[in-house]
Each structure stands twice: as C-alpha cells, then as structure tokens.
C-alpha cells in the first residue's frame, strides 16, 4: 500500500516535472535556434516570454477576446517584434565578441521589463484558460494545465520539425546556420532568414509564456527565472543542439521537482545548477554538443 502511494507520488512528480521541463525546453529551443544561425546568445528570451504572456493577458482581459485568438495574436505580435529586433538592433552586432552581445540582450531584457511594468503594471495577474479541469487516473491527478503544456510542446516541436525538414525556407535556414557564406552564394537571402529565425524563436517564447501563465501567474519577472533555468537546460544539452535543448529542459524540470520533493528546503532551486556544474566539469561540451578544435 505504502509502496503504491510512493509510486503515485513519483508518477505525479514526473508528470509535473515533464510539464515544467517542456517550458524550459521551449525557451532553450529559442536560444539554440538563434545561436545556431547567428552565433548570438539571446539573454532576453525570458523577457520575450513575459511579453508574450502579457500580450495574451491584454487580449483576453482588456479586449475580451477568445483564449485561442489571444494565443494567436500574442505569438504573431511577439514573432514580428522579434524579427524587427533583429533587423534594427541585433544585426549590427554580429561578429562582435559574444560577451558584448550577451550584455546587449541583457540590456534589452531590462528595457522590456520596464516597458511591461509601465504599460501593464507590476502586480501579479492570472490569465483565464479553458484548461481548468483534472483527470484522475489511478490516484494520479492529471491537471489539464500541465497536459496542455506537454501537448502544446509536442505540437510546436512537430510543426517546427516539419518546417525545418520539409519546406524550402526551413532547409534554407539549415543551410544558413551551417555556412553563411555558402548560403549567400546559393542565393539565399541570409538577412531575411536571420529575421525569420528570430521571429520563430520569439514566437516560441511567447507560446511558452502563454502555456506557463496558469502555472506561475503573470508578472514582470516571470521570464527571468525561467530563462536562467532554460539557459542551464540549453548548456546541459550542448549549446547548439535542438534535441539537446528539449532533453536538457526536461532533465532540468524533473531534477527540480524531484529535488523539491525529496531533498531539504533550498535544493529545489539549486539542484539543477549543481547538476549543471557537475555536468560541465565532466563533459564541458554538454550532452549532445560536439567539441571542435580550431585548426591553426
């Protein structure tokens, strides 16, 4: 009996960890997409997530729109915003040291947070969703919110997979991230492709933000915490590997939940980082990353 309850608790934690991990995975996916294409590390990813959640909130509460319509509006708005960000600001710093770019995006993130606090206020908001119910399966509570996150992630990943492998633009993006110069020579509009990648990445972040909104609630700092964990996820998976980002995200999510349930207080937030540090010491290039040596 006792063993059965333990199993139920374990399954419950696994499901919740999976859901949280999917969010980390989606944000990490955004990091990796941009990094693979332009070698920029976008620290503002978490703040794009926050903006996405706020836009959806505005659409639902202020304008009284339907949840799904708000979802679409938010993803498109943030996607366009991401593309504009690339076209106006970030394209200028390609080729500058990585560190400068990281700081640039940190600065942009701070500006977004200020913008959000001035526009929408700095309180905590709830976004009403159609996923209120729960299913009981053998003692395990399957909350629809968590299921919506997992299913949403699966759908998004499926769409992205098909897009990258079976459309002209997707293949052009792959080519660009492999070799910019060769892509130019083949007649691929590299600049446009960069903007598109930013749009996809920002849109993914917005979607993650809306899916996450019922779990953490919406406030201006919701992105920062998620982005730091997602960053750990991306590094854990090996920066530059798309499956690595998703797997890393899920690992971080599971570790967080298991550590929170079994270890003393305080380990919930630090356990993912401890694992990350050990991981980096043992395998500095991450799980799926490849180490390349420069030829001189």
């Amino acid at each position: 009996m006792c063993r059965g309850r333990k199993l139920v608790t374990f399954l419950q934690l696994t499901l919740n960890g999976l859901a949280v991990g999917c969010i980390y995975g989606l944000v990490a996916l955004g990091f990796v997409l941009i990094y693979k294409a332009t070698e920029l590390v976008n620290f503002a990813q978490g703040d794009l997530l926050m903006l996405g959640a706020f836009v959806a909130y505005m659409a639902v509460i202020w304008w009284g729109l339907d949840y799904w319509l708000a979802f679409l509006i938010s993803v498109v708005t943030i996607g366009v915003f991401g593309a504009l960000l690339d076209a106006t600001i970030l394209r200028n710093v390609i080729g500058q040291p990585q560190f400068a770019v990281v700081m640039l995006t940190i600065g942009l993130g701070a500006m977004f947070r200020t913008f959000a606090s001035v526009t929408w206020g700095s309180e905590i908001y709830t976004l009403p969703t159609p996923f209120g119910g729960v299913w009981q399966v053998g003692g395990v509570t399957l909350s629809h919110q968590y299921i919506s996150i997992v299913v949403g992630t699966l759908i998004l990943c499926g769409v992205l997979y098909v897009f990258f492998n079976h459309t002209r633009v997707g293949v052009a993006m792959q080519a660009t991230s492999q070799n910019q110069l060769a892509a130019y020579y083949m007649g691929i509009p590299v600049k446009l492709i960069f903007s598109l990648i930013w749009a996809i990445s920002a849109g993914t972040a917005a979607a993650a933000g809306i899916l996450l909104a019922p779990v953490t609630l919406i406030d201006i700092n919701m992105g920062l915490a998620v982005a730091l964990k997602a960053f750990a996820a991306a590094v854990l998976g090996g920066f530059g590997s798309i499956p690595g980002a998703l797997v890393g995200g899920i690992i971080i999510g599971l570790i967080e939940l298991y550590a929170g349930a079994t270890l003393p207080e305080g380990f919930k937030d630090t356990a993912p980082y401890i694992v990350l540090l050990i991981m980096l010491v043992v395998r500095p290039q991450g799980l799926f990353g490849t180490m390349t040596r420069k030829k001189v």
């Binding site: 590390v41 700081m103 200020t114 110069l181 980096l280």
Partner: protein, 380 residues
Amino acid sequence: MRFQFKTSYNQDIRLFKDRIDTSWYGLLAVAVLAVPLLMSDYYVGEATWVFIYAICGVSLMALVGYTGLVSLGHAAFLGIGAYAHAYFLQHGVPWVVSVALAVTITTASGIVVGLPALRMTGIYLTIATLAFGVIIQEVFSRWESVTHGFAGMPVEKPTIFGVPFHDEWAFYYLCLFFLVLVLWMTRNLLRSPTGRAWIAIRDSEIAAQSMGVNLAIYKSIAFAYSAGLMGLAGALFAHKIGYLAPDIFTILLSIQFLLLVIVGGLGSLHGAVFGAIFVALLPPLIAILRDSIPASMNEAAQAMNIKLLAIIGEGIGNFLKKPGVEAGIFGLILVLVILLEPLGMYGRWVKIRVFFSTFPMYRGATFKRQKSYMRSERLR
C-alpha cells in the same frame, strides 16, 4: 601635438607616461583628497560608493577585460568577502586580520571556481559562474549559524588598531586608500609577465599557448586575483551597507558589475573607475531628477505661460517614479553603449584626447573598427 621619444625600456614601462601626465594625476589626487573638506556628508558617502564599486570594477576588469573570461557570478565573491569579514568581526578578530582572512577565503573560492572553469570557454564558462552565483546565494540564505539567513547580519563600524573610522569622511579615506592600493597593484601586475600572459590569452588562446603561456596557471591566477579583490571590496561593502542580507548578492548585482566594466570601457583600468562613477552615481542622479524636473518645468511653464511644459514635466516625473524604471534606464544605456561606443567611456575619452592633441589633423578613421565577416567563437 606632442610626441613621445622613448629612449629606454624603463621609460616605456613607467607608471606615468611623462611629467605632464604625472602632474595631472597629482591634481586629481589633490581634488579627491579635498572632497570631504568641501562637500556635505551625503556626497562623501556617494563618493565612497564610487570607490567600492571601482575596486569591484578593477577586479572584474582583470578577469573580463584583460583575461577575456566572463563571469556572471561575481556578486557571490563579493558576498563571500562581506559575510566572512562580518563573521570574523563579530567573533572579535582584529580588523586587519579579519580583512586578510576574508580576502584569503575569497581567493581560495576563486581558485575552486577557476579550476573547473579551465576546461570551459565562452558561454559555457559564463553559465558555470552563473550557476555558482545562484548556489552561493542559496547558501547565504540557508547557512543561518554563520549568515543569520534572511534575518540579516549587522556589521559594526571599522576600528583599525584602536583608531575608529566611524565618520563618513574617515571611511572615505579608508576606501580611497584601498582603491589606490588596488589600482597600483593591478597596474604593476598588468605590466609584468603575468599581465602580458593574460592579455595574450584574451586575444588568442591558441597563440598564447604556442608562445609558451601555461593556460591553466594564468587563468587560475586571474580567477584568484579577481576573486581576492572582490573579497576586499566585499569587506568595505559590508561596512558601507551596514546590514547584510542574502538578497543583496543576486545575479542582478553581477550583471551590474559587468555593466560597469562595459560602460567604463573594457581593457583599461581607467574604464573601471569611469564605470564605477557611472554605476554608483546614476541612481542618486535619477532620484534627484525625479523631483527637480517636474518642479523646474513647472516654474518654466509659469514664467513663459505655456501649460504644456508643466504637463510634460509632470509626465517625466511620474514616469521616473514608477518601479523598475531605473533598471530600464540602465538597460537603455547599456544597449546604446554597445551599439555606438563599444570601447565605453574610456574609449570616448581617448577619442576626445586624440582629437585635441592632433587638432587640425584629426582623422575620423583612426578608430574605425575593422569589419570582419564573422568572427566565429564556435571554433576556439
């Protein structure tokens, strides 16, 4: 236009370039020494913050600006120094010994962090230091027997060899002394083989290695030195802030230190000081503007009988009063500096100086950045 004609090696490595340079620094020294005599306690206190931030800046400049290792966890080193110092003071250790112990402990923790960091490059290192910072912050809040957790930890005023440094002006001179000491030490270190090895590592690890620079040793030294300075800054920080709590030493503080070195200008000690002036004085400046802009705009509106001015002034005042605006202004300045002046305030200062010293002959292209197609950091 002034040309320097160097006739010996010693002339090349002098601390101050020539006699004119020396006299300028002398003038600066007099001005800085005179500050407590001329200004009120409030401004002396703010200037003390500048000195403490400048020590932090020099610490990070040695690591980021000269060795090219980016750390997002330096607030943790500051915290370790601050807590260690406060803890030893509480247990009756004399001030000088306590500071020495705090610096030793942070140096040791710097080495511990630096060792795994030797295998990582670029973004991986940044994330590893970030993870370290998060873990240490959690340690501060949980290790209650030493740090008193969120209840906070009071720090007594410094008394050195029985001499009290309780007043603002006394503490000002204490911080000034340590800043000058740190600057002098770092300047000397940078013109020694160690500093040159650091710069070689920053510019190209592979080239440095093939010139016989031992990467492991020099990167460890950089981490240890940087952490040690941060520990010293932490001890002074503890006195200045008076009350330690774990939520001071967050990642946001680490980001602020990086902002300091970038805005000041990477790869120059002047930059560390310029950046410290900027970071320490912007928040009080915003606080002053918050009240004075609406007031002065209102006056102007009444004098000129234009209502619009008063409304604009009030709008600016209300905007500056919103929570989180300060962070946004910092962010905006950071973005503008990286886009428009990647060499920071020191870079701008050098440009102005060159403009005047070469006056009619200034060429705009002197500082033009080379446009490389793409400097890949994937292959290092």
